[in-house]
Symmetry: C2
DNA sequence: ATAAATAATGAACAGCATGTTCAGAATTAT
DNA sequence: ATAATTCTGAACATGCTGTTCATTATTTAT
């Protein structure tokens, strides 16, 4: 591990730049933020920025990559439901999630998040199928396209997260995860109690 | 109606600007496109642009507003399923839908589209409840938050549309609408055939 | 067909953010 | 303490933006 080798100044500078960027993007939107504003708020010279990042985009993408890695790590480690973990993670990092879900930054980070979610769902789903293979062998042969399911789920999760973070309805992560689970497992017919 | 009053030159110019913009955004991404490129491809002087629009953003937003108005109009007029209409509309205007769903442009047009879909779902849903009020009076009193349902549905629809337009799997609008309908009505448990 | 009205043009200009260079100052590691 | 690294600020070139204005071209109205 090369953890002790990095010059403190570098760590401090990059952290300051990320924090400044985050605050400014929330205040003004990504496009309106200038490098000068970022370095000024971070109490750094403008030239210093270019010693670390090529442009605004790269700085934002680094923050987002770290966030997504952190979410994936949580899911891998914890025993709780991945859905619950996602809502909790979003609540704890609400600012950055808002920036991502608003589609700030040129090459939309939502798509990166969407792909990660899709992939995670697919893995979890296949694990589930393996575990159930002896109980319901027909399940694996289901003709319904898996990609349609994962994209349906990734979309609905992102939709609920967006609404939850922007409109701030008074639901806990647990409640959100619960409602989401009911909707996608049993559909709105059963969940809302339609006569069939 | 002031349809015959508008100078032809204006109509031609605006159409040319929109077409040029659309092509360029698909080629290079919104941020990389310059006003000069747009007017050059449209065979117009750069100054002409500013006689019609304040900036790139405004030009793109006008196209998007027209597209969404068109979708809403189709849904209001036609008797087919709104879901099917949405997939068909997306297929017919794939380029613009891709631009929207990629989140191109500063103030993300996806959010405008999302709000429109949410609103439409809510209206359709309330109509449905009214129509069924005598058959299942309990339905209206369902305690499940309506907004959660509409945002769940809007998200999953946008998710499927994004995947469909970007990855171009060989499904027809009819097939996509069908799969979507099954998933949200009955959930993945029933749709995929899990033992309960 | 002609005149009046309107739109498009292109050159010129100011403003501003970007990104780079470089020599010197400040900080950190050894 | 000193060698290595990082930060700094001034200076500069570049490219896009947005505006002005006198001129030309096209359209509409009569």
């Amino acid at each position: 591990m090369n953890h002790r080798k990095i010059d403190r100044r570098i760590l401090r500078t990059r952290r300051a730049l990320k924090d400044a960027m985050l605050a400014l993007v929330l205040e003004q939107g990504f496009d309106a933020v200038t490098i000068e504003q970022i370095t000024h708020r971070a109490d750094l010279g403008r030239t210093t920025f270019y010693l670390h990042y090529r442009d605004k985009e790269e700085l934002l993408l680094e923050s987002i990559r770290e966030l997504i890695d952190d979410l994936v790590a949580h899911i891998r480690v914890s025993n709780s439901s991945p859905i619950l973990l996602a809502f909790q993670h979003a609540a704890e990092n609400a600012d950055l999630y808002r920036i991502i879900l608003r589609g700030e930054g040129a090459y939309s980070a939502v798509e990166r998040l969407r792909k990660t979610i899709n992939q995670t769902i697919e893995e979890l789903f296949k694990e589930f199928l393996q575990a159930r293979a002896d109980v319901e062998p027909d399940l694996i042969r289901s003709s319904f396209p898996l990609e349609v399911v994962t994209n349906f789920l990734a979309g609905s999760l992102l939709g609920l997260l967006t609404w939850w973070l922007e409109e701030r309805p008074p639901y806990t992560p647990e409640q959100m995860a619960d409602m989401f689970r009911r909707l996608f497992l049993d559909g709105i017919r059963e969940t809302l109690g339609f006569v069939r």
